[in-house]
Subunit: 211 residues, 2 copies
DNA sequence: TGTACATCAGTGAACGCGCGTTCACTGATGTAC
DNA sequence: TGTACATCAGTGAACGCGCGTTCACTGATGTAC
């Protein structure tokens, strides 16, 4: 008992409070939305005095930005796993990136909200901007691989494709595919919706229906 | 001078405060986001005591819901104008609904934010839900008209099409196409992005490239 | 048309509350010798 | 290895502030006769 307590106290005491505050913020965002938590709230959840967070974050926005940045890093990792180095083939890999996008939004609504719905300008700091760009780059890479499948004269611009799919996935995620409550309901799952849209879209670009 | 003042005071005095509060809320949402205004703020902007709003709205959420409801009504009107009864042809009309979607998001960022980004559950009240459904129905009707152009065996489900385009337009609007500050920048306009995506998508469904 | 009364929208003062932020502080950890 | 000192993360008390909400009230508008 007192062991456990000491371990916790000790853990908070050097190096971990920063991370503990981010965890607390995630929890609070999940419950009440990105606007629904306060600096004091986060401190309380982390079991620490209201002045303690100032040692690690300039203000509430800086904390929120760090949640978002960390979110983008994990997002990038999830998209990268979905892509799987273009295996087993470029078309499947591209579709898997789309699936990973939605899976992330569903599994991590708090990160997702901090990343896209917190009202933070994407360039509130360079790290946040860079993390967001790196996540987008995964989609871009998958599109490059896919475009290369087509004969040289019939290749659509990969950047445009990436933006189309990013927008589509984001639209579906934020309208229908959220892990938390209060979203619109649907006659099909968000995953099916994305899959069908991408099928039609890729057909429009001249890709075969099946890989 | 005292005329003008009296006219204003009189206007606030019976019947208009409700509307004045909605206007004030819109202004504040535009400046600071849907989470960035308070009940007291709205009262102050409307030039009225902090207790006055309670005569018209149960609480802040009720006011926000009314902004969103009114937004959906105007949104529906704008989409309907875009559709133009399916004139000059179903394909053009469908595309115009998409353009109208984006135009609304750009022209009315405050309404748009209240409608889609305020964290309000869509069924916080039946009127809000109904207004949202009516707006979606315009897109649905446009899709019905378009689907009817294809031979009977090759018709995609219009509901699915509507959901695809709604998601795409919403994704583009919320990532890139906002009238207010702080969004991501793009190598092309949001309008071009939507147009190109819809062109590819409709080609994928078997529609001719040009009407 | 005029008078008496009811209704109702907005007032303004008051309250308790939690937030953001500051401050001098404490006590544990790291470092020099 | 031990001692002295510096550093640094977190404390806890304090503050001013604006918010949400309530209350008895006022004065203008609407209505009955």
């Amino acid at each position: 008992m007192s062991w456990k307590k000491r371990a916790r106290d000790g853990a908070y005491h050097h190096g971990n409070l920063r991370e503990a505050l981010i965890q607390a913020a995630r929890e609070l965002i999940k419950e009440k939305g990105p606007a629904g938590f306060t600096f004091a709230d986060a401190a309380r959840s982390a079991g620490v005095s209201p002045a303690a967070p100032y040692r690690h974050f300039r203000d509430r926005e800086a904390l929120l930005a760090d949640v978002a940045r960390e979110g983008f890093v994990r997002f990038e990792a999830m998209l990268t796993t979905g892509w799987a180095n273009g295996k087993p083939d470029a078309l499947t890999a591209f579709n898997n990136v789309g699936r990973a996008y939605l899976a992330f939004a569903r599994a991590e609504p708090a990160y997702y909200a901090a990343m896209f719905e917190s009202g933070l300008p994407p360039d509130v700091n360079p790290e946040l901007r860079a993390a967001g760009d790196r996540a987008f780059a995964v989609l871009r890479t998958a599109a490059d691989g896919l475009v290369a499948m087509l004969p040289a004269g019939k290749r659509p611009p990969a950047l445009m494709m990436s933006l189309h799919v990013w927008s589509l996935a984001h639209g579906i995620a934020s309208l229908f595919g959220r892990g938390d409550a209060g979203r619109r309901s649907l006659p099909m799952s968000a995953e099916e919706l994305l899959e069908s849209a991408m099928l039609v879209y890729l057909q429009g670009l001249g890709f075969p229906a099946r890989a």
